[in-house]
């Protein structure tokens, strides 16, 4: 319990450091947002007034604390280019990206685990060799290119979906989910390949342990040994990978959203970066950072739950 609390404190500390670094990074950008907003022919008085209104005349640390508190109370600031609250801009796009992330993550977990078990069971056989080779190639395909290939194959050749024909979740839930299937697959494919490779080698390593022999000698067949004894131990290192994969998928969706023309968080982020709309960029990146950090914490806590050895140390 003590360790859990310690871990949570470290996480909060990490969050503070990350948010401060992020805030600082955007402070270092040369140029005055007030001047940028008013244009070149603004009088110094106008600029000073706007600076006061935007709070730019206060000290750095004070502004940071205000910003951080505002962030956690859901006030993400105002967009420079649209003059509307960032929260509003993000809020209705968030479900799209989150759905995409979760779909891709579920695919990764559902496909990779049985596949890895299958390959470990038939290690060295033809099935294993062929799957390993395919796996190795898939790992080398960048998600956006697998997206393009999926579009080409399922969209253009087989006409299973219309590329670019995105339907929002508040219009038609079914169409929304079915459109997200291929984008999710595109993100998931490389992750599946990596997870399969890791889990398989982890399984094989565990199979060499003494307890496996004991399990065999007690009359279990290979399946019994695998499912009842080895899998739980072999799964531990992969758990960390799944945690990282979730964070990776969430941020990687930025790229795949572009491939499939999905108006999610990624698109806002990209337009905001090219428009130099810093409050939006700041808010989105901080949000993504929050997701990453919280995911890491959760993985760590689950890990402790599953592997009591860590708590003993």
């Amino acid at each position: 319990m003590k360790q859990v609390i310690k871990k949570i404190i470290t996480t909060v500390l990490t969050l503070v450091i990350v948010s401060f670094l992020l805030f600082l990074a955007f402070e270092l950008i040369p140029g005055d947002p007030a001047r940028a907003k008013l244009g070149t022919d603004a009088t110094p008085e106008q600029i000073a007034a706007l600076r006061a209104q935007m709070g730019l005349d206060r000290p750095l640390l004070e502004r940071y604390v205000t910003w951080l508190f505002a962030f956690f109370t859901g006030d993400f600031g105002t967009s420079y280019s649209y003059s509307m609250p960032v929260g509003e801009m993000i809020l209705d796009k968030l479900p799209i990206t989150v759905t995409l992330t979760l779909m891709a993550f579920c695919m990764t977990v559902i496909i990779s685990i049985p596949l890895a078990i299958l390959m470990a069971k038939h290690e060295g056989g033809i099935t294993d060799s062929i799957l390993s080779a395919i796996n190795q190639v898939i790992m080398a395909v960048p998600p956006f290119f697998s997206g393009i290939l999926l579009t080409l194959f399922f969209g253009v050749l087989l006409k299973l979906f219309v590329p670019g024909d995105f339907v929002s979740y508040d219009v038609d839930m079914g169409k929304f989910l079915s459109y997200l299937f291929f984008p999710a697959l595109a993100i998931a494919l490389p992750k599946i390949a990596m997870a399969v490779k890791m889990l398989k080698s982890s399984l094989l390593a565990e199979m060499k342990n003494d307890y496996t022999k004991t399990a065999y000698s007690r009359g279990n067949d290979t399946s019994g040994v695998l499912y009842k004894h080895v899998l739980k131990n072999a799964f531990l290192p992969v758990l960390t990978f799944f945690g990282m994969a979730l964070a990776d998928i969430f941020t990687g969706s930025i790229v795949v959203e572009k491939v499939f023309n999905i108006p999610g968080i990624g698109r806002i982020l990209m337009t905001s970066i090219s428009n130099r709309d810093y409050p939006v960029v700041e808010a989105i990146i901080m949000m993504m950072a929050l997701v990453v950090i919280v995911t890491n914490l959760c993985v760590d806590l689950i890990y402790r739950k599953m592997d009591p050895r860590i708590t003993v140390e």
């Binding site: 290690e123 060295g124 080398a140 956006f144 290119f145 393009i148 290939l149 579009t151 080409l152 941020t251």
Partner: protein, 281 residues
């Protein structure tokens, strides 16, 4: 059964070498000679498929795709080398000093590295690019910074493992200074681990650069990087799928070659030393 898998893994290394040599040759030839200048426009061949004149076809402006892929893979490769060079050297320095000396420096730097490591590299590089603005050097800088922690962590754990070994003690007895021990004695000894992690880093760099360029905030025109070509060609995927497929294929080969090689090296190290990578908590 074990022999079979060992054999296959050794194949991995060889196949990886062959692919990488092929890609490097492709890039090298592209540095000296391309069938057409990458920016030359052949208006009569817009979006044409493969032909004798243009083996990979032409893009929407009538530019020869083979020539553009040759030039583009050079840009991608250079950006990735730059990234690994930058991230690797800073990472090795940080890892070496923190691992060898330990203490408060180690604590502080490694906490920062842990925080950075937890972040997907694309997020980190997005921050740097958002702050510096898009551009070629910014891309390399952004990716380089994003790759520091992974190298630093690996080098640090290797230094911690090595610093109390026999040969280091002997070197110390014979009067070698700390710097000499670190970079003349320990560093060459962690070569295999370093090499394979540099190769993985190289792969990630290729991937990250391609993603950034695909998003339009990586390498800027007039340079044609592979990611950029893909994003331009995607609009014409119905008319001319070839202009998407070729740049992507080269990208895959580039990544595949290095990942197979690093796999091979890892297996080799594993077989030889029974080296086991331990996670340092």
């Amino acid at each position: 059964m074990k022999d079979a898998s060992k054999k296959r893994k050794n194949y991995n290394f060889k196949i990886g070498c062959v692919i990488t040599v092929f890609v490097l040759l492709f890039v090298l030839v592209g540095m000296i000679w391309t069938p057409y200048p990458p920016e030359a426009v052949d208006a009569s061949a817009k979006l044409s498929g493969s032909s004798l004149k243009h083996p990979f076809g032409c893009d929407q402006l009538g530019r020869d795709i083979l020539s553009r892929v040759m030039a583009g893979s050079r840009i991608t490769l250079f950006a990735a080398f730059g990234t690994v060079l930058l991230g690797g050297s800073i990472g090795i320095l940080i890892g070496a000093f923190t691992g060898y000396f330990g203490g408060i420096l180690d604590e502080v730097l490694m906490r920062i590295m842990d925080v950075m490591f937890a972040f997907p590299s694309i997020l980190l590089s997005l921050v740097v690019i958002a702050v510096l603005g898009p551009g070629n050097y910014q891309t390399v800088l952004a990716l380089g910074i994003a790759f520091v922690p992974s190298f630093a962590r690996i080098v640090r754990s290797e230094f911690i493992r090595c610093k109390e070994l026999e040969y280091v003690r002997l070197a110390r007895l014979s009067g070698a200074g700390n710097l000499r021990i670190m970079f003349v004695h320990i560093l060459p000894n962690i070569r295999p681990v370093l090499l394979s992690s540099l190769m993985i880093g190289f792969n990630n760099a290729v991937l990250a650069e391609a993603s950034l360029s695909y998003l339009g905030i990586g390498v800027q025109p007039p340079y044609a990087s592979l990611g950029r070509m893909l994003s331009e060609a995607q609009a014409y995927i119905f008319v001319s799928p070839g202009s998407c497929i070729w740049p992507g294929l080269v990208l895959i080969l580039m990544i595949l070659g290095f990942s197979l090689m690093s796999d091979g090296i890892k297996t080799e190290v594993h077989e030889r030393k029974r080296w086991k990578r331990k996670k340092v908590y």
